[in-house]
């Protein structure tokens, strides 16, 4: 189902896992301030980054994403004080699944994003997109 009348995305496609209470407002703020980042970045929301299943990350790569960025809550998480350690464990599990499936582990990245972290988010997206460009596209690798 290609959209013939629209240009396809040119840059690497990034999936961002964000949290409802902490990083979502930060990412929204980037938009509210009209700070630009690549339009090939897509954000999906979970309550807490500890709720991300490693299989979802693998699924993202199998669905055509080139990189996965996890916006972690760090100390700000209202649910789990050890949220960061849990999220790091999820990222590590995902990397095992990715390696087994032939995706480079550096395609997943995790960083703390706060509720007003508009500029840090935009910078992360630019830098991560550049890294994924250097690494090459997943779809191209699969072909």
């Amino acid at each position: 189902m290609a959209d013939a009348d629209l240009d396809g995305p040119s840059g690497p496609r990034i999936l961002v896992f964000s949290t409802n209470n902490i990083s979502d407002p930060g990412i929204d703020l980037a938009g509210s301030r009209h700070l630009h980042y690549p339009a090939t970045v897509f954000t999906v929301t979970v309550p807490c980054s500890s709720a991300i299943k490693p299989t979802w990350i693998l699924h993202a790569f199998q669905s055509g994403f080139d990189g996965v960025f996890i916006g972690a809550d760090g100390d700000e998480c209202a649910y789990l004080p050890d949220c960061n350690a849990r999220t790091a464990r999820i990222a590590a599990r995902a990397q095992e699944l990715m390696s087994a499936a032939g995706f480079e582990p550096q395609r997943v990245m995790m960083a703390a994003l706060c509720s007003v972290c508009a500029e840090p988010f935009v910078n992360h997206m630019r830098e991560f997109s550049e890294k994924m460009t250097a690494l090459g596209r997943v779809a191209a690798l699969a072909s």
């Binding site: 629209l6 999936l15 979502d24 509210s32 090939t40 929301t45 309550p47 055509g64």
Partner: protein
């Protein structure tokens, strides 16, 4: 997957979306997708007119799913859930696609890219809706009673407010007397009201109310049950130890703060004549006829601000009350003896709001304010004549070093979080990086915690003035009333659920759930995990630990998340 009937609305948001995204192209890209029975663009999806149209469409077309692509769900998730409910559609069959904050506004430079992205976001939302099912909020009968932990100014005022709503109140205080810090204060800013008098007044009001049970020398020693009906055990210490058992619908935590204790040597602390603000205020209050220290008249006082606060790597926050309290103290000093010289050495003066007037008054009465640079804090040493020499760099005089011979040096110490390990553990209270308790949302849900029915008030949440403490105590009262006055409360149904047929009981989920929501039960002769929906906070932390993938978080199930993810981008077929 059975057939669905989904309606899709793509909002122009005036031009906020449509100026940067080709909304007609988005509609055309999704209108013929399987299960989409209606797709349209609208100028303002949130307008009353469009809401009415949506309700009519949901009913006429018998829709069982709704997608609105518009602004951030932070603005209108509840608006469109409400539209769904009014139309007879289950609100959890509604999905919002954020194509404004996370699309049009972020990509004003890339119309083609923004349009492609918006198509992906809407396709993802449709796919997620296809996997959604109707959920019902749980109704819980609630007990019209509250427990207030801590009888400082916030807890005292909250207890009165709760009782006046008609709730039964248990007010417990760890120490032998009520009032906390404020109960030890003399005159306080901004209106010189005496702290001890205020507390005595509140205590009298409490004693007039038979529905308040005040327990001193008491602590909360056990809590069980779930939101709406917490069973609490209060242990009262004394000559003979006793316990009080109660059932309460809400718990207000008002355990207060501790003051920062300077290290020996910190700004000369330990040298005779270097005192904290609290000690100094006692001295001023006890000296109506001229301030003396060791029987020597005090002619010069130097204040050092921000002690133990705003320290990189330490307590980085500002304690908010101390600038105003110090400026207020300086006015008390000049009232006793206007000839006393007062020097204020500060990083920044934060006598915010109306307290600015106190600062103005203090300067007019002769107080000298000198700003020191962060990297060069003042030093304090003892001179041969017994006086104290305070040396500071005055930023506003071109950075010259000034030495002030002083009779007293007052260290303006800030607030630090109180040690509350047992309570924190028992109630599963979220603690922030600074050590104070965390609310759900700093602006919109400032006194609720993620633990339903447990609220935080006063300085256990972070530094506050007396009036701010009382305001947050009363906010916790209002919130308790909102939860308990109806007698029935609804709990969000977005919780974790176990697929008993897939669970093999390994205990991992129980181990990682800090809320004790998970128990081991037997189903058809097999041990499996069971999650108490009334206790589960819906964080999803257990789901990623299950080795059998037997746990799903409603609202973000495996099926929903995978469908969402795989529909965001087109897979390039080589």
């Amino acid at each position: 997957m059975s057939e669905r009937r989904i309606g899709v609305y793509i909002c122009h948001c005036g031009g906020n979306i449509s100026d940067y995204v080709d909304v007609a192209a988005v509609r055309d890209a999704v209108k013929d997708l399987p299960d989409v029975v209606h797709a349209e663009t609208s100028l303002f999806a949130c307008s009353d007119g469009t809401q009415q149209d949506m309700i009519k469409m949901i009913r006429d077309q018998n829709l069982d799913g709704l997608v609105v692509a518009s602004c951030s769900p932070k603005l209108h998730l509840f608006t469109f859930r409400g539209v769904s409910r009014r139309a007879g559609l289950n609100p959890f069959e509604y999905t919002q696609a954020n194509i404004r904050e996370q699309c049009s506004w972020a990509h004003t430079d890339d119309r083609a890219g923004a349009t492609t992205k918006a198509i992906g976001l809407v396709k993802g939302a449709i796919a997620k809706t296809r996997e959604s099912s109707a959920l019902e909020p749980m109704a819980v009968q609630t007990t019209p009673a509250s427990l207030v932990v801590g009888a400082g100014i916030a807890g005292l005022r909250a207890a009165i407010g709760l009782a006046d709503l008609g709730l039964r109140v248990y007010l417990l205080e760890q120490s032998a007397t009520v009032g906390g810090w404020v109960g030890q204060f003399g005159p306080t800013f901004p209106n010189d009201r005496d702290g001890r008098e205020m507390v005595a007044d509140l205590l009298e009001q409490i004693q007039e109310r038979p529905t308040i049970t005040l327990l001193t020398n008491a602590e909360l020693t056990a809590k069980s049950g779930s939101f709406g009906n917490y069973a609490v055990t209060i242990t009262v210490h004394g000559e003979s130890e006793s316990t009080v058992e109660a059932t309460v619908g809400s718990i207000v935590i008002a355990t207060g703060f501790d003051t920062y204790q300077p290290e020996i040597g910190e700004y000369g602390y330990g040298i005779d004549g270097v005192v904290t603000l609290a000690q100094f205020k006692e001295l001023v209050e006890a000296s109506p006829d001229g301030i003396k220290f060791h029987d020597r008249p005090v002619r010069t006082v130097t204040y050092v601000y921000c002690v133990g606060n705003r320290q990189p790597g330490g307590n980085e926050y500002c304690s908010k009350y101390c600038c105003s309290a110090t400026v207020h103290a300086s006015l008390e000093v000049s009232a006793v003896d206007p000839a006393i010289h007062q020097y204020h050495l500060y990083r920044d003066i934060r006598t915010y709001g109306k307290y600015e007037l106190l600062y103005e008054q203090s300067r007019k009465r002769g107080s000298v304010f000198m700003k020191f640079p962060d990297e060069t804090p003042p030093t304090v040493e003892r001179a041969g004549d017994g006086r104290l020499l305070v040396t500071t760099r005055d930023t506003l005089s071109g950075g010259v070093d000034v030495t002030i011979p002083s009779d007293l040096v007052v260290l303006v110490t800030g607030m630090v979080p109180r040690e509350n390990t047992e309570l924190t553990k028992m109630l599963h209270l979220p603690v922030g990086g600074d050590g104070f308790f965390n609310e759900i949302h700093p602006k919109l849900r400032p006194v609720e915690t993620v633990v339903d029915g447990v609220m935080i008030a006063g300085t256990c949440q972070g530094p506050k003035t007396i009036s701010e403490s009382v305001a947050s105590g009363l906010a916790a009262v209002a919130q308790s009333g909102a939860m308990l006055m109806k007698g029935v409360a609804e709990l969000d149904p977005l919780v974790a659920v176990v697929d008993a047929s897939a669970c093999t009981w390994c205990g991992e989920c129980q181990r990682v759930c800090p809320y004790e929501a998970i128990t081991q039960v037997e189903v058809d002769g097999h041990d499996v995990a069971s999650i108490d929906a009334a206790v589960c906070k819906g964080c999803g932390g257990c789901t990623s630990y299950c080795p059998s993938n037997a746990i799903d978080l409603l609202g973000a199930t495996d099926a929903q998340m995978q469908a969402l993810i795989e529909n965001l981008v087109e897979v390039t077929v080589p």
